[in-house]
Amino acid sequence: MTVTSATSVSAAIRRSGGRGMALGAGLVVLALLPLAAGASPYLLGLLISALILSGLALSWALLGNLGGMVSFGHAAFFGVGSYASALLAAKLGVPVLLAIPLGGVIATLSSLAMLPALRLSGPYFALAILAYAQIFRILATELDWLTGGAAGLQRYPGLPTLFGINLADRAGSYVLVLACVALFALVYVVLRKSHIGTALRAISDSEDATRVVGVNATLLKSWMLFLSAFIAGVFGALNAHIIGFLEPDYAFSGIWSVMPIIAAVFGGYRSVLGPIFGAVVIYLFDQVIAKSLIPVGHQILLGILLAVMVLLAPNGLSGLVARIFSKTAEKHHAGA
């Protein structure tokens, strides 16, 4: 590479980095608009649920996109994170804001049991992790001395007040969950742009070829599994302290495995923002628009929307937006 081309590449990276920063800042401002506009607790509640799903979808997409692994068992990490955080706060008196990342750490530790399954790929890995989620649900039911069994946990601390902001009220919870989504999205962006991200993308294209050039594919995939489990665990913990109730059927519900997949695919799981926006769009569409049109059985509209999206834009919402932008840019260039 010549000095001139290297300089132009670094300038391009700076430009794209600057654009990314501006985009990120713009999105955070957009996300804070509901607070500035004095949104009702109802709307904020919906947004919180959508953002919890966003975080989970981000964690699923990270594993799929960078780790090349399709998971049907993210409910396991979500559930472990939620139980771990609630139990740490309730039984050991750990402050909730510390218990939440610790919930993520314990979810990460629980993912160690999945390491043997990393040798599997495609549907075999997906099935293994699906079974794994069921094992944790049964454990949470059977270990009633610890988890409260089928009756679940109801009396554990909620989110605290921090610097005068009551995180337990809707506005406070919204800001906290939004900050977590933004933080993990940033981690995802940085990771993707790093050498590790490049190696991981190469692994997902051809694992054998990448091994030949000396990349430790198993180690990198393990790291992605741990990171994905950590993120899912943190959002599970946040959800547990916001909802204030845990039971095995809810914490390890199949919804936490299926919905992030739907959200990520809808939004475009190859991008960072795709899973986040996918989750927000499908959740709000379902709960606000579809539910007001068909109060009972509104899920049919969501099904139709998903089918249309998959047919018209296989790369999801982010792919569709990119396509529209590139067409507009082409027209603009042609006009010039």
């Binding site: 649920s49 089928a150 009756a151 109801q154 909802i243 109730f245 059927d249």
Partner: protein, 398 residues
Amino acid sequence: MVRKTSAIASATLALALMAGVTGATAQDASKTEPKTFTIGAHMPLTGSLARSGQAFNEGMQVAVKLCNAAAPKYQVKIDLIDDESTPAKAVSAVEKLASDGSVAIIGGYGSNIIGPASDASDKLGKVYITAGAVSDELTKRGLKTFFRINNNAGYQRGIATLIGDLKPEKVSIIASTKEAPALLAEGLEKDLAAKGIKVTVHKFDPAITDFKPIINKIKLQDKPDIIMMSAYENDYVGIIRAAKVLKPNVKLLVGTWSLATPKMYTEFPDLMNNVVGTSFLPFPVEVKSAEGKTFADTYKQMYNKDIEYLSTLSFVETMVLCDALFRAADNGTLEKGGLADEMRKTDRDSLLGRIQFDATGDNPNFSLSMGQHRNGKIILVSPKSAANGEIVYPGVPW
């Protein structure tokens, strides 16, 4: 100038007269038109619990119709949202109902839903009443706006009374690991053991459908006099079907909620005969109280069927709420949080017996009768004070 002044004066007078007339009309209207209150409700109207949500809704609608007919000063309407059996959606439903002006909330089905939803309702200062959650944890939270008419203790008392009166030596309990059945099984194990009965509990995962291994174990190992099922409708069918195949040497099959119902006999006539479950009323329905008769007649008129278990529960909770609501409105305390106080003053008879609320919002009087399926009829067999027939014992469906 004079003309201008008089024109202004005339216009002012006309406006004043118009305002007076309008005001008078509005006053007259307020004298004649009843004040309308909205009660919010969230129920599972889709998914696996949709049938339960629908039954709850039917009972609520009948109660509202009767309340409106009885109170000329007030009208009540229900604003119902499908909570999809999801805690977050139930919380959102409560917040939406409150922001849309509901004066109180009627809760859905399952402690996992009721817990967070009633928490949200308490934060919004709205009275929350439920007939769909029996967990003891719910009443330990110290919420000032939470009320419920039924509880685990009532189901436990009804079943333990029946089994205690039959004096079996051994009882095997087959219990779902879901929250309510697991709690009931745990309580019954203690109650029956305290009566000197040997109890063995067999827990099962709600996902299983083949109960033959459990029944076989009970048949060969436990050899009980009574099999008690702490479970739900689909589980009862699976358990009784397995028992009918393996024919353990037992004298009675007992279950809990949603078992001693006409619907179960209509759908599974070959499995239900002699099986016993919790019940309020015999079938054909024999209602003694005036309110019960009106409920049964109106229900039949609206839905062309006899009253059922869950609709009866929701009818009672809605009637209790309406009564308290009208009392608070009469006293002028509704806007000042007086509804919770009026709920606490509740002391009335109902199809479930006497309804009162203790300091935790629970109904300490809740207790159920036990009904036995007998060739399409349901005979109340326990407690003796409510019985309208003798129990067939030994009596099994095969």
